[in-house]
Structure formats: structure tokens, C-alpha cells
Symmetry: C2
Subunit: 113 residues, 2 copies
DNA sequence: TGACGCCATGTCAGATATGACATATGATCC
DNA sequence: GGATCATATGTCATATCTGACATGGCGTCA
């Protein structure tokens, strides 16, 4: 994704589904954003399932509460690397991540991780 | 992953499989690296399958040949975001990415290596 | 031999992400 | 009300990533 788009995205708070062609996003752009949103949701679910607060998770990640909040909020300032490694630290397997990433698109069994 | 580790990793050129505990990598660290390597391999395969040179791919990605080389080489300086968006631009679907990410680890069908 | 195409590797300025901090909101309890 | 906890949001210095450029290796062809 190019910087110009990312900038507009940041300005708009990237509301994906709704403002797709409004921002002139490519298929690749939206796909990436959707993957990230799915991952952030997954992280929040995992954290809650483990009964952790954002502060506690931040400790495990060796980060800060504010960053955890941004991760879960799908903030554009959060990289995929951070999302994925956070999930891994919370115990997600590659298969779990794969399921999450595949997203809504043709999922098999009941819902995902 | 922490910076200290990334630094050592960079220094070592991150040879994953072999120097795992030598660098004191956690499970999450190695899992992330393996995912990235799988993605970079996948990118190279896709590019070749489409008969593109690194220069041509760089044009599509609006990047440079050297970065494409680093992406495919699994260089530590390449983020997951770049890997994924590159693959998406080459036409990979979320499902394709999911398959790649799931990696060797317990794939269904006939047994994998 | 030289010229050319393809890929690898090093470097660097500028762009982006990160952790940390401050601060704000809302909920709950006393 | 006040205190406490969980979460959100803004800012900022520093760390990291990115594209671009230079250069070198390697094979091929004339």
C-alpha cells in the first residue's frame, strides 16, 4: 500500500467496509485491511477468553496498555507483524492464524478463532 | 518480538531452523519467522509462475528490484505487511495466504512432509 | 572480449511503527 | 462524592521499515 493512501486512511480512521471506493482503495488494500481487522478481533477475543486485562496483556507483550488498545481497535498505526506476534504470544497456532486470515470468505466449520 | 532479538537476528541473517535456541528465540519468534519465510517463498513462486522478473514485479508493487530481492530472500528488514500486500497484488487470495501461513504444520489432506 | 539481463547485497534519507506517557471516559464499589 | 479498575485517545522520541541508488556476481549471446 502506498503512503498517500495510508495517510488518507489514517485520516479517515479506516472504516473499511463502508468507504471502499470513496478512498479509492484497491482490492489488495481492502483485503489487507480486512485481514488486519480480523486479526485484531481475534486478539481481543483471545485476551478476553484468557481473562486478561489490556494491562496484563501489555506486560506479556512487553508493550503498553495504550498500544494494546490500538491493536484491538485496528488502529492503522499497528503493523501486521505486531498483530501476528501478539497473537502467537497469546498462544495462537499458525492454523489459528490461517483460519482468521482466511476471513469471512468461504470458511468451513463453525466460526473461527 | 523485541528489538534486541531482531538485532541479533539481523546480524545472524536469521537462519531459523538451525539457530533456534542459539539465539534464544521464543516459540512465537520462530513461528513468526517461519511464516514470513513461507510467505516470501510463496511470493517468489507466484512471480515466476507469472513469468515476471524482479524488476517487473517491482514496477507493479511500485517498489524497487532490490526490495523485491530482499522480500524473496526473507530479509529481516521486510515486514509482514509488505509481504502480504505484495502477495495480494500478485493476485493471491485470503485463502491462498491462509494456506501458506498454515505452513507445513498439520495440513489436512494427504500427509505433508 | 563486451554488452545485456537477472538477481543479490550494502547504504541511506525519509517515512512509518513502537513503547511510553499523559489524560479522559465509563463502570463498579464503598 | 471519591476511589479504583479497564479501556480509549493523543502525543512524542526513538526504533524500524521502505524505496531508491550503487555495485557486484553470474549466465548468455554475439
Amino acid at each position: 500500500m502506498r503512503k498517500s493512501k495510508r495517510t488518507r486512511l489514517k485520516a479517515a480512521g479506516w472504516v473499511v467496509g463502508s468507504v471502499k471506493e470513496f478512498l479509492g482503495l484497491s482490492e489488495a488494500d481492502t483485503a489487507l485491511i480486512e485481514m488486519k481487522l480480523a486479526l485484531s478481533q481475534s486478539l481481543r477475543d483471545r485476551r478476553k477468553k484468557q481473562g486478561l486485562s489490556q494491562v496484563q496483556l501489555a506486560e506479556r507483550l512487553q508493550s503498553s496498555q495504550s498500544r494494546v488498545a490500538k491493536i484491538e481497535a485496528g488502529d492503522p498505526s499497528v503493523s501486521m507483524d505486531l498483530l501476528v506476534s501478539s497473537l502467537l504470544i497469546l498462544g495462537a497456532s499458525s492454523a489459528d492464524l490461517a483460519k482468521t486470515i482466511r476471513g469471512g470468505e468461504k470458511r468451513k466449520g463453525p466460526h473461527a478463532a
